[in-house]
């Protein structure tokens, strides 16, 4: 997938969820995840993606509690 295709499917996801509405979007994402799981068809890969996706959320929550740090130039 080239960058412009990634852009376009990203936007399509955003627009689809906007149309579905906020309350139904979790369900939409769950359905999308299951379809992606079926399409990937490899348990190890799916398990790695689950770990990656949840890890980012863990670290995001941790970052919320850290104090502001000075950024590198």
């Amino acid at each position: 997938m080239i960058e412009s295709e990634l852009d376009s499917v990203y936007t399509q996801l955003c627009k689809t969820m906007t149309n579905i509405g906020e309350t139904q979007s979790s369900l939409f994402l769950a359905r999308f995840a299951l379809l992606a799981v079926a399409e990937i068809g490899d348990a190890a890969t799916v398990q790695r993606l689950i770990a990656d996706a949840s890890e980012a959320m863990d670290s995001a929550q941790k970052m919320d509690t850290t104090s502001p740090t000075v950024l590198p130039v």
């Binding site: 936007t11 627009k15 906007t18 740090t69």
Partner: protein, 567 residues
């Protein structure tokens, strides 16, 4: 701290209104071209016309160049154009060149992007410079051409009537009002264009709700020039912040306003200063600073359907409003001016049918749609228009640190030159398609160093230095010897007064030939253009490729030119 505002370190010259020779309140002289709006686009157009020897009148409501830094990023393509307009020097001396930028999510760098740049380039991908300098340097160049450019300061167009053979303008100045007649009128009068309004035309497209506060501050800092973006930074949780360095120790800080904030409240210094202070502290900028200018911005993605309406044309913000993100506003306006200048000049001089101006509209409306599509993507990321865009952005930013494949979603998609893919001026596509590589018809030239040899004199230069107010045929050859039938092509076209020059691009230094040749001293040029001895690129006055041939007959090239000018 107090809110001591400082002034920009720039003193604009003020200009008086002048009345031309009048008879019964009507200017005695009828003009070929009148440009409403003396901003970057209007001045660039007047300079472009002057390059072709065509005079114009510029109607400017103010008495000086603009206030405020406004458009601050000028692209390589714009610099190329500005060089042909004779105004590059100031941009090179004053502007801050840069090649890339960084994006942060919270306190982590998630993207370091670099714009296309290599050893073949003459000019940087981007320079930062305040708009008052942009206008001043263009104005300085225009004042050098006062024989052809007549700027009417403090002159307001109060009524515009379009007619079949031109337009009539009612103009108001502190010294009195008058009427002006013109054969051609170009509206370069910005987003609130009076010309557009009086013609009853409307911009169409999308306006976004997300608002950004734009703050200029004065701050001394050695930090390099790059585009810096923060999403949800610890200094201002939930906000998005952009930081750009400008000349003269001016810094631009843009940040998104919360949906529940009132616009008038948002620009009050007591609400702006603490956010800026907090962010500068987070960046580690501890020096003294002062606010200079505060304004608020809302993104629009709007365009007219056509930029030609009979004898009236539109360019720049008067024709289209593109979002600020990706810096396509001033840059696309300068490209409009460059595209229009040669076409209008050819029509005024009787060298082309007025349908050439329809190709201006065709090409630049297409460019605006390309710009709008990129600008819209950037806007949807920088100012998410719904919970879904917000949620997906949070996911993309959080994953981008570890998953490089997602980083392109964060890339700001800075302006790049547009290829006029379906232009009516392009020569037959099947001939262009015979090339394996190189710029196709409708594209701009690829830059490459060359050694220009002019009547025995040798100088290091670049290929784009050979673009001039004429059609240029680049003939690729080993030694510089051009078959006689090609020389006749130039003569044939000149008889019809079409400005044209054939320039041999040589694999070996040809210092003993008359006229101009350019030597591919790096050995990269032929490969870059997919060319072999005998290949020919025909280039428009605006530097776009009209057509290219591996083995062309002069008659075929002449026909391509004729078709472009007369169809």
């Amino acid at each position: 701290m107090g809110y001591e505002f400082k002034d920009y370190p720039f003193a604009a010259k003020h200009y008086e209104a002048e009345l031309p020779a009048l008879a019964d309140g009507v200017e005695t002289k009828r003009h070929a071209v009148t440009i409403v709006g003396g901003g970057p686009v209007g001045l660039a157009l007047a300079l472009g016309l002057a390059n072709h020897g065509v005079a114009s009148v510029v109607i400017e409501a103010d008495d000086r160049v603009c206030f405020g830094s406004r458009a601050i990023c000028i692209s390589r393509r714009s610099l190329e154009i500005i060089e042909r307009l004779g105004a590059l020097q100031g941009f090179q001396e004053k502007g801050l060149p840069w090649t890339g930028g960084r994006s942060y999510y919270r306190d982590t760098e998630v993207l370091h992007f670099v714009m296309p740049h290599d050893e073949n380039q003459k000019l940087p991908p981007m320079v930062n410079i305040e708009q008052y300098y942009i206008e001043q340097f263009l104005l300085d160049a225009a004042e050098q051409r006062s024989d052809l450019i007549d700027i009417r300061w403090q002159t307001q167009a109060t009524r515009i009537d379009a007619r079949e053979d031109g337009a009539t303008l009612r103009l108001s100045t502190p010294k009195g009002d008058y009427t002006l007649h013109t054969d051609w009128l170009v509206g370069c009068d910005g987003g609130r264009s009076r010309v557009r309004e009086d013609l009853g035309l409307q911009l169409r497209g999308t306006s976004y709700e997300g608002r950004y506060v734009i703050v200029d501050i004065e701050l001394k800092s050695d930090r390099p020039t790059e585009r810096l973006a923060w999403f949800d930074p610890p200094s201002n949780p939930g906000s998005t912040i952009l930081v750009h360095k400008q000349p003269d120790d001016i810094w631009r800080i843009d940040y998104q306003v919360r949906d529940d904030e009132d616009s008038e409240e948002a620009v009050k210094p007591e609400n702006v200063i603490p956010r800026v202070k907090s962010h500068l502290e987070m960046m580690g900028e501890t020096g003294d600073w002062s606010p200079v200018w505060i304004t608020i911005y809302k993104a629009h993605a709007l365009s007219l359907e056509k930029y030609r309406h009979g004898r009236v044309l539109f360019a720049g913000d008067a024709a289209h409003l593109v979002p600020i993100f990706g810096v396509r506003g001033a840059n696309s306006g300068i490209d409009d001016a460059d595209n229009l200048a040669w076409k209008l000049a050819f029509v005024v001089k009787g060298l082309a049918s007025d349908r050439l101006l329809d190709s201006y509209s065709h090409e630049r409306v297409f460019a605006a749609h390309e710009n709008l599509s990129y600008g819209t993507k950037s806007t949807e990321f920088m100012a998410p228009p719904s919970f879904a865009f917000e949620l997906m952005r949070q996911a993309a930013l959080g994953l981008a640190v570890k998953h490089a494949g997602l980083r392109s979603l964060i890339n700001p998609r800075q302006t790049s030159s547009i290829t006029y893919v379906d232009s009516p001026l392009n020569s037959p596509a099947e001939r262009s398609a015979e090339f394996q590589t190189g710029p196709r018809s409708g594209s701009i030239l690829l830059e490459c160093p060359v050694t220009i040899v002019e009547d025995g004199e040798v100088r290091e230069a670049y290929l784009t230095d050979l673009v001039a107010p004429r059609f240029t045929a680049f003939y690729f050859t080993e030694t510089g010897t051009v078959p006689a039938q090609w020389k006749d092509l130039g003569v044939g076209l000149s008889r019809g007064s079409v400005p044209f020059k054939l320039i041999p691009l040589t694999q070996r230094l040809a210092s003993d030939l008359p006229g101009v040749t350019a030597w591919d001293h790096t050995g990269r040029l032929f490969d870059l253009y997919g060319a072999q001895p005998g290949s020919l690129y025909l280039v428009r006055p605006d530097g776009h490729v009209l057509g290219r041939w591996h083995t062309a007959e002069p008659a075929e090239v002449a026909a391509a030119l004729e078709q472009a000018l007369r169809s």
